[in-house]
Symmetry: C2
């Protein structure tokens, strides 16, 4: 398996990536909504460009550092889905606005007032609504409509819409529950926007996040934009939610067996420094492709420890290679400086994870 690459390594199947990118673009266009993929999953300008060429209207970034990398690569329509606070970041935001159309999300008058002092044309903001994630934002309806009114009165900012991320959806146990949670999320946002309209504030963007909800929420009347991220690579978390299959997962950690201390134990050279602890404790959180009789047991920083079922103890001697599907693609990509792009089982390119580590 890819003898030209040393392990552990991040390997991306570009055929699967293209299929995933194309399929989500179709979901958006079939439903008449804009697609603004979150680039935190790949952190690679090349793949952001692929998404734009397939029909995305712009990109979403989590942090200014990511947005700067993407703008540097020529991408000129960016939603910063994170409240920007403090002089150093505001200076960077002002510079970013010279190169790209930038919108920012937030959930407080304090952050809006700070942004409002930036100068130049009013900063377009989306107000984050809490549809079940219990992170940023107030609940939908009156609490959020009041917040919108308060922020709309602040000079220097223009409230253009509402934004939310998957909330309840991530806890769904069945496809029907997921579909219902996603629809409710979209409807919550649309109803809040209607309340704002009755208050005299007209909002033109209803932006809803997440891969698991994208297919369902795109069809809710009034939703204007979807922001899935993980769909480009998928992972075992998406498989568990029923929105991906092994065939639609594009990211692998290529790893080598470096110890077989007991007949049933396989130790490989990929631990949390390649796979993170995200999802640990969930059965099947990491899957070895083509090895249904191998179960990952735990990870140390540099070791992955797996269990082989009886009858398979002679397999996977020291030096064998495995491809692991991570639990959370976004976090895993952030651990690597480069990824190997493959097609038809051949390494064809090295991709720079240019926005890796952009925490600020």
């Amino acid at each position: 398996m890819y003898p030209e690459i040393d392990t552990p390594a991040l390997v991306i199947d570009l055929d699967v990536v293209r299929a995933n990118v194309s399929e989500m673009a179709k979901v958006a266009s079939a439903n008449g909504v804009r697609l603004r993929p979150h680039v935190k999953t790949h952190k690679m300008p090349e793949l952001a460009r692929m998404q734009l060429e397939a029909g995305a209207s712009g990109i979403t970034c989590a942090k200014l550092g990511e947005a700067e990398v993407m703008a540097q690569a020529g991408i000129d329509d960016i939603l910063l889905a994170f409240p920007i606070w403090g002089r150093p970041k505001l200076r960077r935001l002002a510079a970013l606005r010279e190169r790209a159309r930038v919108r920012v999300s937030l959930d407080s008058p304090e952050v809006a007032a700070d942004l409002g002092r930036l100068g130049g044309p009013p900063v377009e903001v989306l107000v984050e609504v809490d549809t079940g994630q219990h992170r940023l934002g107030r609940p939908p309806g009156r609490p959020s409509a009041d917040l919108v009114a308060e922020i709309a009165a602040i000079p220097g900012v223009e409230v253009v819409g509402l934004l939310t991320l998957a909330g309840h959806a991530y806890h769904s146990r069945t496809p029907a529950e997921l579909a219902e949670a996603a629809r409710r999320e979209g409807e919550d946002l649309v109803e809040t926007a209607e309340m704002c309209a009755r208050d005299g504030i007209s909002l033109r963007e209803i932006s809803v996040g997440s891969t698991p909800t994208a297919r369902h929420v795109a069809g809710v009347a009034g939703v204007t934009e979807i922001r899935p991220g993980t769909y480009i690579f998928n992972d075992t978390a998406m498989m568990r939610l029923g929105v991906a299959t092994e065939e639609s997962t594009a990211a692998r950690i290529l790893t080598t067996v470096i110890g077989r201390p007991m007949p049933e134990r396989v130790v490989c050279d990929a631990g949390t420094k390649c796979l993170t602890s995200d999802g640990y404790g969930t059965p099947g959180w990491i899957r070895a492709v083509g090895l249904p009789y191998l179960r990952m047991e735990f990870l140390n920083e540099e070791h992955g420890v797996a269990h082989l079922e009886p009858g398979h103890h002679a397999e996977l001697p020291v030096g064998s290679r495995m491809g692991l599907i991570p639990s959370h693609a976004c976090s895993v990509v952030n651990l690597f400086d480069i990824a190997y792009g493959v097609e038809d089982g051949e390494v064809i390119t090295e991709l720079s994870v240019a926005a890796r580590g952009a925490v600020r």
Copy 2:
């Protein structure tokens, strides 16, 4: 709090680091054992040099990439506590041996045979023994003694000793349990070496790992080397095990409050991309210094969501800064390109995390 630094950021208190480094050096010298700190915790040549100047006899690395960074910085005595496999790594190991004395740990004849073909003077190897970690290595006693005999017969390698990492100790619930587990670990290794001696193989190094066990295992007769890593920074995992206090933790994630959507909710700009998911689910896995009424609830990639006790809802408005003690210092350091070194509350230097991301 450090207004000259933007957040989120990794901040290291160098006064605490010096105290931790000096104290562990004293533990080693008082017990007549060598100290070979694991540099995976800091990944910084400057701090490795500080450890050597304080009396460490060499360093431990997990991966070749870390060792290369350290050798490049002039460090010339390195234990690679990881089985090295495959042509690309063996070529790099040969080059590394030109610049530094290098020992390698392993647990299989296959890896030893590969190393044995390296050429040059025999490769000094330590055989890993499983004292409860259930990762690499066979159980102590006969299974490991037999493995040592098998490896000792392989040309091109010289078995110089046994190596283990904390096993049972990490699961200890009381200081007495921890001390007992650590002693048992040391004794298991020493008894295995005695068995090897009776088999005609004399071993000169008994090397035992981990910060929680270091103070206890250093006093076991026959142990020659301790390899703690985390002690230089400490973290909440070490606090829970009773081997660190808040005062002896040196690493902080400096973060800013970017949302206060509900009276009891504080959202900051440090999530798993700064803090990892290591330790999630353990109460108090992340602590905010000086804020006993704040409890971290969950992390998303870029958001930390915390709960404020009643009576404190007016505190921590948007823009406030907090210092967070991570659950696992080693993994957190790996997420940053630089750390800010502080003394007496002043930023005095930027430290390059030079061996960050060295997974190969």
